[in-house]
Symmetry: C2
Subunit: 526 residues, 2 copies
């Protein structure tokens, strides 16, 4: 089994992506998680470019890592300056990282237009920088920026830049498709010619501007590049870097290479989720391998087939990368979907076909009005029980009022009052909160906890707002999704209205009703 | 220049994606837009599977299309049933579509486990269905479902199924990687063997479960498949279908094939945006070619180089697909970014370097607290002007109050009161609204329009809410982004708070201040 060196650059190239920003503490957390995953290298940042990155290198030195080596990134020395006087090279040394990834220009266009130095000087800059770092005992990875574009523009010059890095002692030559415009066919050809011209250890670094970063990385590995750059979730400038969450499963599960242990690969979905959480990114659900929808079956015919044999519509088993199979409820759902879900909910008795149809119709109607049950299984179960005539009313609302006040130079203030009845007893109460929804949440709990003390065991874990029809400005309809949890489980609930308070209220009430329902049935069973 | 037949299945396979749902009217609108783009075929739906799809086929018949042909999708007849009695085949005929895409099974696993018929019967089902439709004068496209998996499991059988379709008269044989698990190398090999075994016109249909759908489609075209299936924005079951918004530019701009006219290709970004709007999908910004970030430059060094020569960090010109170059403001921004943006804003005079640094620091601080200026150029400009000492106060707030009331069985009711001063004159007013933010918006306008009648020319076009720290439940911090427009321009503004009303207020006030600022400077110039 051939080993692949995974070189993660989420913390450096990844942060060039729109909307991606990490504090140095975030970076530490991610580095520890990547080390646990078992990648070979973690590129921590560009110490010459900003103080936050330098802070990371200082902090990470005191943190023991199991396997991963920390790498610092920087450019070759500037033109016509002594290497030991160069600010950026100094910063690389100051980072005290033992592995240095240094990038140089392979494309004459960049040498002339961006660096504005002569072609010969650029070769010297590469040679000087690599050999200086080598003389200081560093392990040097050479990133040949724009290698493929450079090769197409002037093959001999591109090769000369690589040769300079190699002769200066670089351990790995990384061929970079920096602008992401190279196609698989030409990429394979260029790698072949390059490898036959210069014997060295090669790496690959691709970008996704043509939607081909994963394919290009895999083809490069098949051509013999055993050192692979990429980022978790494909973060990166413009369309992102090559996505390690796709590359690693393809290489390891489909081509028999070894990136990390099989056991660690089973945490890949978690790693993806963790990094998205830290970056505060809501990932597209349809991400290959690690996305929420990656093994989600919606079409009735697919669900029917998967219930017979999972291999019919799944290319690998989701468990191998720690993901899970899901069956979706939507207006495309056949009765198979509803049947799968209701049995998942533990309804032992079979539903009548007419019941299943009625539920499917209700779902269709509600989704048309903006509800979404895919993420709101709590609300879905309440709806199913209502259709079965099993709805339980835990309280009766007499009314609520929420007030938000703002005075100059003061924080805005939110207060909610609520009046409700439980088993004929009226409760009228008020609460403040951080914002109107929180105030309403607090008031509702305050009113109900008297009757249902177990409500204290339940808490909200996520609150999402989605504006459904942006075109109407502040009049737009909104969908609120709430995720709640107790010690035993988590569940989602949904509310829709043009009034965000009303939508939040619906989702809140469903969430509480679901908890009370489960709590009650638990007690019954005892 | 070789022509490629683009076969769009956004309206059928695309709707299998999680969260994707179209009404029949949505489908009509999208079909018209696709026709304008110039695709060869539009697969409208599966008339046998749901009434909504049948409705689409009825409606679309009365709508003149310039170029695209409408295709209906369905399965081969069921096992052991006469083809003319088959419900699904009947529905295909009832759709009155002249082009039929019919899918059959190539993989013995599916024949045995999903269809539960004999291998021979499956061959007959394919032959009968295609020849029946041919006898009725239909143009038949045969989709060989799971062709690559089927070929790997039993090559001879997979080839036999293709042969049956061809002998029955199918015009195109489409090789489908239904589960999305096939790798580029094996895909190329299988296409090669298949083409040498059976002479026919071939098509390709791939899915993105391994992140390789675009690469696989392109490689298939290079191998001679001139008929390409895909969806706009890559919608589709699980990880989606092959994304036409990537495939078309790669084929046409990089490989010299012709999918649509060059002029129409320039509307591709618009088409992508339009379909996302109809589907109510917020697309990932980093989509290749058509994404908002596809040509967005963030790193200071990139911005600096792009200002010298755009080819340094752009693989194609964004204009070719109707997209645009952007420079982002963030904590990674160098002074180059701020300089680019301020000159874009029309500040003729140069900023002092110390000013630029001060602005960059303020941005960093605010982004740390949850603000995002990438989409809020209105708020960014106000901040820049404030730093320049050019802040103008158009009004002074004395306070506001928002009340939301809910009574049983009644719609919730929202009312806002607001008290403010303009040039020493107090205005105290109240307004209702569809929800609290709308009420506040209405009250604020009501108070200000007296003094600034031109406010009537400005309206809100988009309102987005993003919960920043889901973990705190309803206490979470939210970011509100508002997009506004007048006849001349659109602008975005941002607000952040734990109180959604307060965050909305901030963004509203910025939006109105920006409008008044521009309105005033316009008047000055006259």
């Amino acid at each position: 089994m051939k080993k692949i060196e995974i070189y993660d650059t989420t913390l450096r190239d990844g942060t060039q992506g729109e909307g991606i920003s990490f504090s140095s503490l975030d970076k530490i957390k991610i580095a520890q998680r990547l080390d646990k995953l078992g990648v070979a290298y973690i590129e921590g940042g560009w110490p010459g470019s900003n103080p936050k990155d330098m802070e990371f290198f200082e902090k990470i030195r005191s943190i023991p890592l199991k396997k991963a080596k920390i790498s610092a990134f920087g450019s070759t020395r500037k033109g016509n300056i002594k290497v030991e006087k160069d600010f950026n090279i100094k910063a690389l040394m100051d980072s005290k990282a033992l592995v240095i990834a240094i990038f140089g220009k392979s494309w004459e266009l960049h040498v002339k237009d961006a660096l504005k130095v002569s072609l010969e000087e650029n070769i010297k800059m590469i040679y000087d920088s690599v050999s200086y770092l080598k003389s200081k005992g560093r392990y040097v990875i050479y990133d040949a920026e724009h290698y493929f574009d450079g090769f197409k523009a002037n093959r001999d010059y591109a090769l000369k830049t690589l040769e300079a890095a190699k002769n200066a002692g670089a351990e790995v030559l990384v061929l970079c498709d920096t602008n992401g415009g190279t196609l698989p066919g030409e990429l394979a050809e260029i790698i072949k010619t390059t490898k036959s011209s210069i014997k060295a250890k090669y790496g690959i670094h691709t970008h996704n501007d043509s939607g081909l970063a994963v394919a290009n990385s895999i083809i490069a590995v098949e051509m013999g590049c055993m050192h692979v750059h990429g980022t978790i979730n494909g973060y990166g400038e413009r369309c992102g870097n090559a996505n390690l969450c796709s590359i690693m499963p393809v290489l390891q599960l489909k081509l028999g290479f070894r990136c990390v242990s099989d056991r660690n690969l089973k945490t890949l979905t978690d790693v993806s989720y963790f990094v998205n959480e830290v970056a505060n990114v809501i990932p597209p659900k349809n991400e290959p391998f690690v996305g929420e929808s990656a093994f989600a079956h919606k079409g009735g015919i697919h669900v029917d087939a998967v219930m017979k044999n999972i291999k019919t519509y799944e290319h690998i088993s989701p468990e191998l990368i720690g993901n899970r199979r899901r069956v979706l409820i939507s207006d495309l759902s056949g009765k198979s979907n509803i049947k799968y879900k209701t049995s998942e909910m533990g309804f032992e008795e079979e539903f009548e076909p007419s019941h299943l149809r009625e539920i499917a119709n209700e779902i269709k109607l509600k989704e048309h009005r903006g509800y979404l049950y895919e993420d709101a299984e709590g609300s879905f179960e309440l709806l199913v029980r209502e259709k079965k005539g099993e709805k339980e009313e835990f309280f009766e609302l007499d009314g609520f009022r929420v007030i938000i006040e703002k005075r100059p130079k003061k924080e805005s203030y939110s207060e909610a009052t609520i009046k409700l009845k439980v088993k004929g007893i009226t409760e009228h109460t008020a609460a403040e909160g951080d914002g109107p929804v929180n105030a309403l949440d607090n008031a509702l709990r305050k009113a109900l906890e008297k009757f249902y003390p177990n409500l204290k065991k339940m808490y909200l874990t996520d609150y999402k707002v989605r504006v459904l029809e942006g075109k109407n400005g502040t009049k737009a309809k909104v969908r609120v999704l709430i995720e709640s949890a107790n010690k035993k489980q988590t569940w989602g609930t949904v509310g829709v209205s043009e009034n965000i308070i009303q939508a939040s209220w619906e989702a809140l009430v469903d969430s509480i009703n679901y908890h009370l329902l489960k709590d009650k049935s638990t007690r019954k069973k005892k």
